[in-house]
Assembly symmetry: D3
Homo-oligomer: 337 residues x 6
């Protein structure tokens, strides 16, 4: 089994039941999750030896994180304990026309205040095939940006593939700040994930001169980008058409070898929980790449994994590789008995 | 803050969980609500000093009503205590093709048996900007019809605007009875709400000679009606296209200054709870009128408020003015994080 | 009231909440059900004196079966007690594109190991108007196949109408086995239920020479079949178009007097629980036949009953004859108050 | 199986979860129950052919009553349908020092407004061994008192044993009214149930001249009473020592053949739900009498049945005769595995 | 109605269900509470015009606080909105021998970072009869200590009675820090609450020379203390004998006019939720003082209020003055019906 | 970290909510557990590298077992997948005087039908410090008895300590069968657990000649037994005094070096869930032995661990070594904040 490593923050999510407002709630559902942790969980279910690097407080919530990761087969050897608190956020679940709403309460978390020398990058990256990080970590502090850069460099030294998901969060920083933080990392990246808006607003790429279809426009940015960063062999993203908070269309894009590969469009309705949908997709793409699948298969798998994630509560894609393939290949919604 | 007053009955609603039949239920969800109380709650959330006039029994259920109103910022100074019982009703929640079903158990309630002299209309209406009542109260008894008439007259004396929602309920009385009860009130009304069926069956208005579109037909009735009652400056209603118990299209209509203003069509799917949707609309219309907004803005706001109400459990629109505007103006269903 | 009898296995179903995976569940919903038991329940609600013949263990689960049947008005005089265990199965509820999944744990059940002489067929069938069985029972063992054959023969002796639902379950046996088991029963059947796939794979019927519409093709098989088995006066089935696990279109077919009668298409969305949908349909067809309704009315009733079943949790159609007619005849989804 | 008949009102009970106040509740647990219905349920579980005579509305709540009774094996042949409403009551569950609180909302119920000639007492009592009624029914109206008297007389004609439980409810009537209503019935009673306070306040019996132990005093009243009414062969009651709402000691008393037989003291802690505890006791006593057991066995059985009832939610004793005996005879609280 | 004011922090409490560990929880119950807010709620239920002064964030959680207070009749005119976050804490509910456990996550809260000049003490205290604060607020920061001191001084100017509850929390600061912070406030206090351990460790009072009973020792400290601070007319505390997390004995003490008055001992078992028990007691004492009751009545009322609080979930004593008196005066645990 | 190994069956437990009967349940709580699995979980929480050897089916329930074990840090390297079914059992939760009741449905399970050569005992036992098995496994089949014997022998070869818990289950086999199966294993055991009844009925030991106290009698059996089996260095058991299903007293006994060491008596009330209480105790004893603690400390720790287990739902002791010590050493039930 290949060893894969993700590094980032994991938080406690409080969500309301469907049709309830946060200010009226008597009970909240709790889930542990974070972009990179979710990718680690998916990769474990897809058959990798998966490690998650982070820091959580030395209390019952830290233990809760540990239980969550372990139950999903993720190794917690590099999950540090200490610091002040576990970051949390509140999700008022959306439905129909009403959007979900997020209140972050993640400042001063153990992870965001971790010293960069608390982890031995050597130990973490030894024998690894992949390191995955995301823009959310960069947004937390200058120290975190430093830590990520060191990790990416060290990974290159060790022959580990680097994956980076832009994961832009407008509530954490401005597009300009994000762009500036991401640029210096790009030379160390092998696989990355960003979309049209990121291309324009974070990378400052110029729009094409003539109007193009959504697909053609994306291809345009990816081509230009990959000419500038030939080290980046794979770029991925999804087209998400939000009909309502309960109904989305989802299509996956994977750019590889100068070509754009697209999955079929998944019509996801009703949506049970869309948190972590992007992370399931990212893990799917990484799986295909690590397994050496054809791009067509990779993008079909990744998008199916993401669509499946939308049908379960919680941040994580708790489906095995076989289940994702089964889902991708059979007629949707049929009962087998 | 402007003082607004609504008068009517508030009941205890027992509802089944989705997919459960009433006869099999082991647990029922309880909510307090009633057309006029719901309007009072909305008006409070929209920034008015809101009073609800009614009578509830002197027991834990009466206290429950009080807690419900207060938690929503509604003043309970004119909520009398006493009498025999709190009216209740049972709602077997519908879904898909299966309609919701209502069993009323509201007879002999404290409110319906209240003496008309138990309330001091002077105190209630002093300094108020608006009085809102509905046809449901008229259906309860002759005494109630008298009380409503006195209140409307007294309001006129005090310079208070009168709002009347037809709110016809076929389980309470016949269309003829309703028509006869409503007619004498109309000269005292400033703002009212009724639809095509009410125009024909309650007001006995003649259908247009030639076939008209739904919108044109409504305009036809409103025009004729406003010629007869020039005191009524605003008439509103909604077009509700019921695709199923889980999926409705909703469009708001506001007739003002001889013109019919229409909101965009909201596609509401899935519906969480449609009870109180009309009351949220009414409160939205009243807010626009009291705030002196343009009719276009008023009807957009009112219909958005109603659509939002359908996405939460309970009778009440627990969204602030800002939230309704945010909802009306942004792309539906997007998560912001 | 006419006496009707169904014979088969009843099991304990464990289902996950929507959006939960079985492997993560902390709580499971429990329901008692089985194809023939479900038909018995429906027939009781439709006004027949309904008996269910089966065997359950002498423990609290056997008592649970008894309570379930009795609460639905089904007579338990022929519900034997004894044997090793109650068969169970686990249902991971599907949603949207994700199919429901079934894990059977029904082997060694009291019913499947019942001796064929434990029941007195004479007593069971005395004065009955109808005996209903299904292919699921045939799949359990050679003894069961013998028991069913004896029962059908005895019924013929007693002048009881025999109904047989193919109910093919791929997890229990092969199509070939099923076909071989069913053939010898057909001469004793008056009413039966099977679809296009059954015609081809179980009955080995040849496809029509030219491409036909779905309806025409079904008619083709039914015609040929009824020529071979003139004793079978009624054949029924449904067309189910599975858009997703949450959205199906359903149309009922009834072949009688050489004609195919079809119901309107019910658009069922969202689906609450589709288990037992076919049994509700079967009971509806049987009701129409026993009541001597016109085929048009029978198939409209049966399909409406099935559509209604999809809107409630559990295996059973807990709607009365009047409710099904009300549902079939009124505009869907309207609230009446 | 002996046929037994009980006659009375059945209501819908709404109860709060432990530790919740009614005025704050978002959900209420619903149970159907009433003194005489509960006795009918127990008698069914104890092996009798049990009939409950009452009237409930023709709606889903009436259906709920029917399902409840049938699931417990009670025959509903004499359960009339019609009238205005089902009586309800609210129970704020007590705990520890805090007492449970009841709010009745039972006026105008279908049963309380039933005409006395709606039931054919002949049919009801034909071939019956026992008729059981209670003082609660007497409290409802003069018509009900008449009905009960007629039933008791008719029962005597038919050779049916009459059982009467005083069941005094201070919220329904005064002790004086109760006493006056009960007196005329006593000549027709064979088995009755009342305690020390009833003896003094309802029957107006004089206290003994010298201070006696609790047991001796009860014996004193029973002796005097049975001398006055030699037709009454059995008198029963319980001593309940209320340590708190969660902890009671319970001892059963049975007076027969001039002797007082007492059960052991059951220490019931924690109490799950004490509603129906007295009805379980009554049914236990009746079972012993109908079965011809020794008084010692009867009172042990009845008190054990009542203690068991306190350990389950709902009004009903859902334990079989064997289970009650098992409970009475084994060491309490041991797990068997 | 007398106006009363409390000032302090209100937090969101997350609690586990009984028998669940925090690290395994999938759902948490949420309650809003804080010592001074709880006192304000009780005082509102006891008939005062109650105001709570604090600061909460401008988000759905801030709205939740508002709803909570308003539903309990507390005025929110002085509830500021703004700042970073709402303080939270996690409660792993204890049971039997296992203690409850608290994890605080309250740093950086809006209240703790409020500027002292954000509130107009003049407006807050105008026409008030009472100001109540507690040692928890002092523990938050030097600014808070300053704010409290200013408020107490201003109150004295305005003729408002000052109440201070030591409320020592070992997780927030050391006993020495607490003692130093409290001393300067004492000259401005009229009513205060502390126990034996506070006397020794916070106030540094010397133990009596000879061994005394628990009651005598407390009297000794109170006497000495009241000689030093003759301005303090009332001192109160409870004796809590913790048999287990589910069973406590509680007795109230009130020192007034040089005498120690004690309530009866309440045996509280099982305990539903002991959070807020002390605040209910404090509010009871204040009520008696403000109402001018005899000390005996005051301490009986206060201790009964506290005992009642232990029987409901949440931080607040949601019982009226009448209910507390009813509880104090009737036999515990009896059902009235 | 020392490697420890346990071998046995793990099952799915379905339990009713408190106060509910199994035959009426609509929902059941699910837990995975089994004596040896529970010991493995405890040992993991106490700091050992813990392995559980068993076989579960290749389906979602097998995955559920895996998730359960992993979330508790137990290694699943030797958890085989395959076979027919996962054994289950139903627990009707007891309360007060009413005992819990168990219905086993564990026959034909994957584990019970596992071939003895499916596991490589060499790999399993390599580098292990401890092997723990119990009498439940012996009861399943002759093959299982063989497997256990081989494992114990192989362990001796490898220098692994063997622990054996008698765990007699009367529903699985007779005392005589159990005795005969256990005898041949005893020469290979280092640590074992049995009580007075096992000594008499399974081991056939003679009672002492004179009446002895409970403690003295146990010591008598342990002395005699250890003289016969000098290889067995530690014998343990608990005295459990069952006051009711909700209240037990528990005291631990450990015989070592010819002495009997006893813990203090834990009064456990209320009991949340007693399943697994014995396994928590066993794991505590093993921990002390493996850590080389003094017998006094070992038995205090083990009994505290068992008492703690009774306060949480589920089969497993989810407390760390520090938490157990904290519990053992602090005053019970105090809140720390």
């Amino acid at each position: 089994m290949k060893k894969v490593v993700t590094l980032g923050e994991i938080m406690l999510r409080f969500s309301t039941a469907t049709g309830e407002r946060l200010a009226q709630a008597n009970e909240l559902t709790v889930n542990y999750g974070g972009a990179e942790a979710n990718v680690a969980v998916s990769l474990s279910h897809f058959g990798f030896e998966s490690y998650f690097v982070s820091k959580v407080p030395e209390n019952h919530l830290g233990t809760g994180v540990e239980r969550h990761l372990r139950s999903n087969g993720v190794h917690t050897d590099f999950l540090l304990k200490g610091g002040e608190r576990l970051g949390t956020y509140y999700l008022e679940t959306g439905i129909g026309e009403r959007s979900p709403q997020v209140i972050y309460d993640r400042k001063y978390s153990s992870f965001s205040q971790m010293d960069t020398d608390e982890i031995s990058l050597e130990e973490v990256l030894k024998d690894a095939s992949l390191l995955h990080v995301s823009g959310i970590t960069l947004a937390l502090s200058a120290e975190m940006r430093e830590l990520v850069l060191s990790a990416l460099k060290k990974a290159k030294e060790y022959g580990v593939k680097n994956s980076f998901d832009f994961n832009y969060r407008g509530k954490l920083w401005s597009q300009q700040e994000a762009g500036e933080a991401i640029l210096p990392l790009l030379p160390y990246i092998d696989i990355c994930s960003f979309g049209r808006l990121d291309a324009i607003h974070l990378l400052g790429m110029a729009s094409p001169n003539q109007p193009l279809s959504q697909t053609e426009e994306l291809k345009y940015y990816y081509k230009k980008f990959s000419e500038e960063y030939p080290n980046i062999q794979y770029i991925s993203s999804t087209f998400r058409s939000v009909k309502s908070a309960s109904s989305n269309d989802l299509q996956g894009n994977l750019f590889a070898n100068g070509e754009l590969y697209q999955s079929k469009v998944h019509h996801i309705e009703p949506i049970v929980d869309r948190v972590g949908g992007g992370d399931a997709f990212a893990a799917g793409v990484l799986t295909g790449i690590l397994e050496g699948w054809e791009p067509e298969q990779t993008i079909a798998f990744a998008t199916a994994a993401s669509a499946l994630k939308h049908t379960v509560h919680g941040d994580c894609n708790v489906f095995s590789k076989d289940e994702v393939f089964g889902f991708a290949n059979t007629e949707s919604g049929k009962i087998v008995r």
